[in-house]
């Protein structure tokens, strides 16, 4: 405090603290997003829609259309040839179960444990960043990564779709047609819905990250929990617990392509993610604020 007052620049009393809160968040974002590892993850995510687009293009290159009911694979794949915008939906359907959460798991799992194993955590704490603030900043930056990762998939899919296929009016799942502009808007909403779907899992990863001093262990455990939850979600014998598994409503984003939009599962997903964020966020806070930092 006295340091801030000593600097001659006159400023409103609250300014330094607000600037500082922004400063540490900005530093955290820059540190996370500019890492080579993060860029590699985003690069892989950006490549997925391009590969899907090229595969579909080659498959249908001879002019024979893939037909409305054509084949398995991710949802919306068959519509891609008619409208490049559908590549956004197809790519998000393809990456949401595994690639996107895996990338989030790596970033969230490493967020605290990585600092601990590198020893930098102790220097952030004696700076002093403050344990609660540091945890909030970490979670905020993981959430930003969720959004960035989703937007990277969506943007790459949009670009690849527009280049490889015709774009135009969108046929909704309900069979009605909406204009391309409204289609784009829906695509944006879907990207946000997908990013929000990852917030509960991100909190879980953050909690796991506070449990160990090994970044690799935390990442592996987080991704392990993801795979376990996905497997449990497919076992009909465990139907009773399905509504409480964080990936259960992930595909609800497709309801945004109905006309009118079905909000039922979307809101249920939102509530479930909020529950996970609250439970595991609190657990992470309880753990991190009382933890002995001895590495």
């Amino acid at each position: 405090m006295s340091q801030a007052e000593l600097t001659a620049v006159p400023a409103p009393r609250t300014a330094p603290r607000a600037l500082w809160a922004f400063g540490i968040l900005r530093s955290e974002l820059a540190t996370t997003l500019r890492r080579w590892r993060t860029l590699a993850l985003l690069g892989v995510l950006a490549a997925v829609p391009v590969l899907i687009g090229i595969a579909v293009r080659i498959e249908t290159g001879d002019g024979s259309r893939g037909g409305p009911d054509g084949g398995g694979g991710p949802a919306f794949l068959s519509q891609v040839t008619n409208n490049g915008l559908f590549l956004v939906f197809a790519a998000l359907s393809a990456t949401l179960p595994v690639f996107l959460p895996m990338a989030v798991g790596v970033v969230a799992g490493d967020s605290v444990a990585g600092e601990a194993s590198g020893g930098t955590l102790r220097y952030l704490l004696v700076a002093p960043a403050g344990r609660t603030r540091l945890l909030l900043v970490k979670y905020a930056s993981v959430l930003v990564f969720c959004l960035v990762a989703t937007l990277v998939v969506a943007a790459s899919a949009l670009a690849a779709g527009a280049l490889l296929f015709p774009v135009g009016e969108v046929t909704t799942i309900s069979g009605t047609r909406i204009g391309f502009g409204e289609g784009l808007l829906r695509a944006g909403l879907i990207a946000v819905a997908v990013a929000v779907s990852l917030t509960g899992f991100a909190a879980l990863g953050l909690f796991i990250s506070t449990l160990t001093d090994s970044g690799v262990a935390a990442m592996a455990a987080t991704v392990g929990v993801l795979i376990t939850a996905q497997i449990l979600d497919t076992m009909p014998q465990l139907e009773g617990i399905h509504p409480y598994l964080f990936p259960h409503y992930w595909m609800s984003f497709t309801d945004l392509l109905r006309d009118p939009v079905h909000w039922d599962e979307l809101t249920r997903n939102l509530g479930l993610q909020a529950l996970y964020a609250a439970v595991f966020g609190s657990a992470a806070w309880a753990r991190f604020t009382t933890k002995d930092v001895s590495v």
Partner: protein
């Protein structure tokens, strides 16, 4: 256990710390989950303005103590005050005035040296973002890293990392600097630079708390020292007093060691040791003039090549205190 500790802490907070002490602990104890007692009832008092050497073999509890002082780990019982405030409760007001190098530097290998400092500086609530650049450049200059500031930290040598860690501790003007083994990994030239840096900082009024297992390092720069072994504080006080506590040695070099030892014994010398042509004994008590002993030797027909009192070093004091060498505590 924790309940009683908390209660004791509250009463402690009311009485407050002794004025004039920058660090003060009472009964500070840390027992790790395995049951191992790392620090045992530590009563430490670091006077303001001192360069305080915190000495002990590896594994004696120095780093655990420092971590408790910095609020990184919670004491099992006892209290710690830093700059007059209770830790870890007052971390937010105390720590901006404390620069620390704890158990070696830790850096982000993928950031540049400068990037690392910007990162640590932005974590400090007392650091004004508008003057961040200047602070970072100043700190880099101070430790002689300005030229290498643009390189990724993963390319740094251990000595450069150590310097960068020091730079992070020097980002702000500090009331207290806690340096845990600051010369680790440095070459002799680097060690000299660090010592001179510590002296400069002390001259500016910063209290420096310096932990080391190198006795001569402590002896060269410190005004006060404390010695720990196996989690317990053995002694603390001004370095001159500690060294004086261990008496010097009278050393005689002579081709006639047998006669010399006999004559010294006749004159009341204790702790006689004869090694080849060298005879040594505890330094005579204050009343005795060493020159008289020399005269007695010569009168007795002892041919004296060299005669003198060897000043007690901190190492002698340490050995006298612990009765053991400087080994890793088991």
């Amino acid at each position: 256990m924790t309940d009683t500790a908390a209660e004791a802490g509250e009463t402690e907070a009311e009485t407050g710390p002794v004025p004039g002490s920058v660090i003060e602990t009472r009964g500070l104890t840390k027992r790790y989950r395995g049951g191992q007692l790392a620090v045992d009832g530590l009563d430490l008092a670091v006077p303001a303005g001192s360069v305080f050497g915190f000495l002990g073999p590896n594994g004696s509890g120095k780093t655990t103590t420092i971590r408790m002082l910095m609020g990184l780990i919670a004491p099992t019982s006892g209290t710690a005050h830093v700059l007059g405030c209770r830790m870890p409760a007052a971390s937010r007001t105390v720590l901006p005035q404390v620069g620390a190098l704890i158990e070696g530097p830790a850096l982000y290998p993928f950031l540049t040296g400068r990037g690392n400092l910007v990162r640590f500086d932005s974590a400090d609530p007392a650091a004004d973002p508008r003057t961040r650049r200047a602070r970072v450049e100043n700190a880099l200059d101070r430790v002689g890293l300005a030229a290498a500031a643009g390189k990724k930290a993963r390319t740094y040598s251990l000595g450069m990392k150590q310097r960068l860690g020091l730079a992070a501790a020097l980002l702000q003007p500090r009331g207290l600097l806690v340096l845990d083994e600051p010369t680790n990994g440095l070459d002799p030239q680097g060690m000299r630079e660090i010592r001179s840096l510590v002296r400069d900082l002390a001259a500016e009024g910063t209290t420096v708390f310096l932990s080391s297992h190198l006795l001569d390092e402590i002896e060269q720069v410190c005004t006060h020292a404390a010695v720990m072994a196996r989690g317990r504080l053995l002694v603390q006080g001004p370095v001159a007093e500690l060294a004086a506590g261990a008496r010097g040695r009278l050393a005689v070099t002579t081709p006639d060691p047998g006669d010399a030892a006999r004559i010294l014994a006749e004159h009341g010398a204790t702790g006689l040791v004869t090694e080849g042509d060298r005879v040594s004994a505890d330094a005579p008590p204050g009343g005795t003039e060493p020159a008289d002993l020399n005269a007695a030797l010569v009168r007795g027909g002892v041919r004296v090549r060299a005669f003198g009192i060897e000043r007690a070093s901190l190492e002698d004091a340490f050995v006298a205190l612990t009765g053991e060498g400087f080994d890793v505590a088991g």
